[in-house]
Amino acid sequence: MAGIDLESFASIREANIMKLKEFKQNGGKVVGRYCTYTPNELILAAGAIPVGLCGTSEKPIPAAEEVLPRNLCPLIKSSYGFAATDTCPFFYFSDFILGETTCDGKKKMFELMQEIKPVHVMQLPYADYEHALDMWTEELRRLRKRIEDEFGVKISDDDIWKATDLVNRETVALKALCDLNQSDPPYLSGIDLLTVMWARSFNCDHEELISMLQELEKQILASPADPAKSGARILLTGCPVGTGTEKVIKLVEELGASVVAMENCSGYKTLELQTEQSFNDPIVALAHKYLNIPCSCMSPNPYRMELLDRMIDDFQTDAVIDLTWQACHTYNIEAFEVGKLVKSKGLPYLHLESDYSNSDLESLKVRIEAMLEMVEK
């Protein structure tokens, strides 16, 4: 789109490898993380840097399959593969890895990853009820202690509050940017949206990221909307998507439609969640926020349906695509509920099951094309 420059975002990953290297050389500490349940605030409060480890490339999967079963979610295989082949600089720089017991595949994979690098696994309860909250609060305290011991620092409550403020502001900035796409035609293509959302997890400096996001928002608002993007408006939901695994978004946009929003971990899933600063204890405040994440690992998971319901309206959605990575049982099963919701709103719903390879591009394309024919304007 004219006037909008995503180059600064597209180059975040490269630029931050250098920054991290310097940071480490000066004695800085780094924590590698995979999932949105990771409380970045605690890492930031310790003066350390949380970095996103992606697991969105097909490349290290064959190496992973020497250890892991083939019939496993590609995200898990890719994550492990990068670690096993030592080909991810962010993994290399990490002092330890932070994992959570989200789905079965991941928690068992972390047991194996432990042999490559220290992994701290947080035990995640699967619902939002009282003793679940107590347990999760204790898990956050355990993590706080682990970080303090590991890095030889003291994390004060004040440090945590400061970090929550930073992360809250970043979330507001991200949400504002995503919300721009509620307009018709949308400002950002799905690929642009993904570029921004994916790159942000590699950025070390969160203040800088907030200014970048705000700057981008201003730029976008100042440039005219692109009438070429007037095709069908698609909401993407399901498993996380990243640069390298954007094939469904690409196909949708090659066929003339736009992915206007993504209800997944690379998109909007967590953007409504803020750490409430009214609690006395910042750890309790964090526990509340994170336990609200509408991941399919939660049981039941009503907030995801509420969020989808609202997003379908807010983003003037014409159809919903639900992407499940092969062997992801939780999203695969939850697809039934999502389908019911979408169809009850009178919209076409397409459930796709795929992996990171390109072998099914043609068959994905037929399905997407047929769905777009259903909403042809």
């Binding site: 169809k343 076409p348 719903y349 099914d360 043609e362 068959s363 037929v366 399905r367 094309e369 047929a370 024919e373 259903m374």
Partner: protein, 254 residues
């Protein structure tokens, strides 16, 4: 107005020409070149109807080979074309089951022939024409002979849906002296089960039409009807519904 609809499938290419209300159709094997097959369809249709190429207003193309065919004025998915074709032939149909050479699909359609929902299986050969083809070879028959050779009264159920395992299961079953007709009935039943499960998941509305090359096989039709517990209509020219739909959409500029 004169229009052509072509459906280039994995096994055969089908064509329909509509010229001022009258129809003519043809079929050729796809072979290794979808482009040549499409060209052959056009040549044959024009030849048979004594129409010149430049009298043809529009050509719409569907099926797996659609992207390889440059003469298309528009390409449309098989799903929409089947729905349109069936709506023309049988307006009361609400569910279409289509089993072709390499995939099977279920399409739910509305009163105007519009697609309401669809499901598709193309991940493995099971439940497709390819599956039956492989099994026919094991039994020493041509795939077109399967329908007439089954004996449902002596049904030998096949438990494997995987083509490779089903093949060895049949060999074992033959070795044990089980009747061929019963084994064939079992094969049909397993294809029927598979596609019926897909249809039920989407919600079957009567009436149900069965299309695609495999619909010619009376045994699979019997099996699908039994699994779904409904009556099933097989259009007289069940292979041509996609091409007919493409031609009608070309006529309507849809």
């Amino acid at each position: 107005m004169i229009v052509i609809g072509i459906d280039i499938g994995s096994v055969s290419a089908k064509g329909y020409i509509i010229s001022n209300g009258s129809h003519h159709r043809t079929i050729v094997p796809t072979g290794w070149s979808p482009r040549d097959a499409g060209q052959a369809i056009i040549d044959q249709l024009l030849d048979a109807t004594r129409i010149e190429r430049d009298q043809v207003e529009r050509i719409y193309v569907t099926g797996y080979g659609r992207v390889a065919f440059e003469q298309a004025d528009k390409t449309i998915t098989e799903i929409k074309c089947h729905a349109r074709g069936i709506a023309e032939l049988y307006p009361e149909i609400r569910t279409i089951i289509d089993i072709g050479g390499q995939d099977s699909k279920v399409i739910r359609i509305g009163e105007m022939g519009q697609v309401l929902d669809f499901a598709m299986n193309d991940k493995c050969a099971a439940g497709t024409g390819r599956f039956l083809q492989v099994m026919a070879t094991v039994l020493g028959l041509d795939v077109s002979e399967l329908g007439g050779a089954e004996e449902p009264g002596q049904m030998q159920m096949i438990s494997s849906m995987c083509t490779v395992f089903a093949e060895s299961e049949i060999i074992g079953s033959l070795a044990r002296g089980n009747p061929k007709g019963g084994i064939i009935a079992g094969l049909h039943q397993s294809v029927g089960k598979r596609v019926a499960a897909m249809a039920r998941r989407m919600g079957v509305r009567e009436q149900v039409a069965f299309t695609g090359g495999v619909a010619i096989n009376q045994g699979v039709k019997r099996a699908v009807a039994k699994e779904l517990g409904t009556r099933i209509i097989v259009p007289e020219a069940c292979q041509y519904t996609g091409a007919l739909g493409a031609a009608l959409l070309a006529l309507e500029k849809g």
